[in-house]
Chain length 205, copies 2
DNA sequence: AACTGAATGTTGACGCCGCCCACATGCCCA
DNA sequence: TGGGCATGTGGGCGGCGTCAACATTCAGTT
């Protein structure tokens, strides 16, 4: 009555609670018993909906990835239209990278949780919506507009991803945890600039 | 008698055992009770030498960092001498980065353990011996030989570190765990090349 | 050589955790 | 109406980190 024996939508409630825990304390904060406690259900109830803790974490990771994708998409969409093709493509890559780092620093727990495990059918439900696909799209555009030589295109996505991913982790859990935000932003600008120069064709850019 | 009540050098033995556990299973594999078990001492014995688990992990991390430094130094020292200054400086940066990634992939557990926590007096006991210092030295040399413009020097160490760190983690625990070594090496070469181009002064390089 | 205090190691306990089991409850459909 | 199945409960197991009390050894003083 007051609290019906069957929750009705326990699975979703568990994921939501777990998501909040991940946000607040990172992947290690997603404790099955605590999640159950917050939903007001007994420990073990979760096992009717998830094989084990990792299975829950997997779904949380997917949600985190989706959120990251959204943040990246938002920044890309906010780009002004009236730019020439080349600078627009270059700015697009910058925004993709900046959004990635911005999200990681704004949501450290969720970000690390999202990378603590991976599902096969990754974040992007419909193709093209995941962070990886957005990055590849940005790079493809750089080739299309003639800024990035086609010969340099293979592997470029790994370079870009590695750079922003490493930057995020170094400032999140790494030795750069304590640098002040201004220096951090300057360093990020420098990183994006170096990548831009490194990818660009001197003849064209 | 057979096994003396006092171990004699328990602290070092615990660190060694913990180091092996870290190597094999990463930071989460460093379990106090297991470390004690391996040394043949009761659980809790470790508390006479370490404040808590993190304290032990800290020392393990230091050792891991030192090992990383050694691997980097070895690669740098192996560089041939008879090169002109500019290419030598550029190669030096390449080797620093390659050694970093190589170590991370060869010793995944120890590498992640080394970055799972940090001591204040970081890895390099004597100044200049830590990974960070070696990277900075390589970049300073790039400035000295005129390849890297002094104006681009600030923040360059963050860019380089982020790139190789991110590359390592993406291939270690990240979505790129499964790419085959050949592709991985090609991607790393591409990354180092992009960084080299991004840092270099077009007029000089 | 005996005494004493500090250092070191042991035993036992507490409260967490993930996970497994047997059982209780409520829903749906024949 | 009744039976089967999904869902939630309660208890228990072993493992963890940590604390407190106790045992043993060592080293320095007299």
């Amino acid at each position: 009555m007051s609290t019906p024996y069957h929750h009705g939508n326990l699975r979703a409630a568990l994921v939501d609670a777990g998501l909040e825990l991940a946000r607040a304390k990172g992947p290690d904060g997603v404790v099955l018993r605590e999640v159950a406690r917050q939903v007001g259900v007994s420990h073990n109830a979760a096992y009717r909906h998830f094989a084990d803790r990792d299975d829950l974490l997997l779904e949380i990771a997917d949600r985190g990835m989706a959120e990251l994708s959204g943040a990246m998409q938002a920044r890309v969409d906010a780009l002004p239209d009236e730019l020439d093709a080349v600078t627009r493509a270059r700015l697009r890559l910058h925004e993709v990278g900046r959004a990635y780092v911005e999200f990681a620093l704004a949501e450290p727990g969720l970000f690390t949780a999202a990378f603590s495990c991976f599902s096969e059918n990754a974040a992007g439900r419909e193709p093209g919506s995941g962070p990886y696909e957005m990055l590849n799209a940005a790079l493809d555009e750089l080739v299309a507009v003639g800024y990035l030589a086609a010969a340099r295109r293979p592997g470029a996505e790994v370079t870009c991803w590695a750079a922003v991913h490493g930057f995020s982790l170094l400032h999140l859990e790494g030795p750069m945890r304590v640098v002040d935000p201004a220096d951090r932003d300057a360093a990020l600008t420098g990183l994006l600039d170096t990548i831009d120069r490194g990818l660009g064709d001197p003849a064209t850019g």
